[in-house]
Subunit: 150 residues, 2 copies
DNA sequence: AGATGCGTTGAGAACAGTTCTCAACCGTGA
DNA sequence: TCACGGTTGAGAACTGTTCTCAACGCATCT
């Protein structure tokens, strides 16, 4: 379980593809990359409204970043769709279902082997997978136990 | 990779919980359980409209069945939300990204071990995971190759 | 520096999917 | 038979997402 390396140098990715890295895109990227937990599009839009970033731009940029593989879509305990960065180097999220904090891990060894077995057994050609693990982080567990509530 | 046992006897599950198993619920359940591929709520509603099942009822029932763990939410290649039965006995879906056919497998051994390692490394108490594997089934691959198109 | 062109942006309209509301309905138990 | 509680269908309401289009920003060319 090696730590996946964090995503640096998004600008290089954009430059390489000839896509402009605008002020708005930087702000949106910073929002997700700077957060230590998954955030919804609505949260990003609300937070960046003051900086003059339109909601449509947030939607467009999240799609763009997702297509580039710079943002991964996950969901919290209530099934709410959130996005989190950076999944580069192929890692998987361990998400706190309460506070949405995300810890990334590289569980690929485990899945690769499974995929090979599946391909052999079913004849499918496997092109990907989606693995999220859900838990409660130590902090949230502590709070919960203090509360004595669910 | 053992085959997960199919879900029998939904009625018993309902009875046990004291939830009425109505005509509409049966129809909706039959729709998903009878399909060999994941289906959207819209598809279910369209298909059952003729049988006098309202759209709201389909939504309500899908939520109900999901809560009971009788229906699992997955997504196809385009990110469309679909539901598939039966996930009982804890299995995972291998989904054809083209035709949405679902083959279920029991990859739990693999994930359980990973979860234990994660819990130890992060201090999270793990309560669940979500694993989907995507592929193209042999049939769709054949069609695609015949077409010579992507 | 000024002109040109192309992709990006923001505001708001449009749209789609989902949830809510409420009166009618159904089945069960008395 | 009657009363009751949960379920249902139709449509309204709501929410999140996408589309439209004119204005803008930035790079390039003159």
């Amino acid at each position: 379980m090696t730590d996946p390396q964090p995503t640096h140098d998004i600008e290089a990715v954009f430059r390489e593809k000839g896509i402009p890295f605008t002020r708005q895109r930087r702000l949106i990227w910073d929002f997700f990359a700077g957060a230590d937990r998954a955030a919804t599009i609505t949260e990003a839009a609300d937070s960046l409204r003051g900086d003059g970033v339109g909601q449509a731009t947030v939607y467009r940029t999240v799609i763009l970043l997702s297509d580039l593989g710079l943002l991964a879509r996950v969901q919290d305990r209530r099934g709410e769709i959130c996005y989190t960065a950076p999944p580069i180097g192929h890692s998987h999220p361990l998400i706190c279902g309460v506070c949405r904090r995300v810890v990334r891990f590289d569980g690929d060894g485990d899945v690769k082997e499974l995929e090979a077995r599946l391909a052999a057994a079913t004849g499918f050609s496997i092109y990907g997978h989606h693995l999220e693990v859900y838990g409660i982080c130590p902090e949230c567990r502590a709070v919960k136990e203090g509360d004595r509530g669910e």
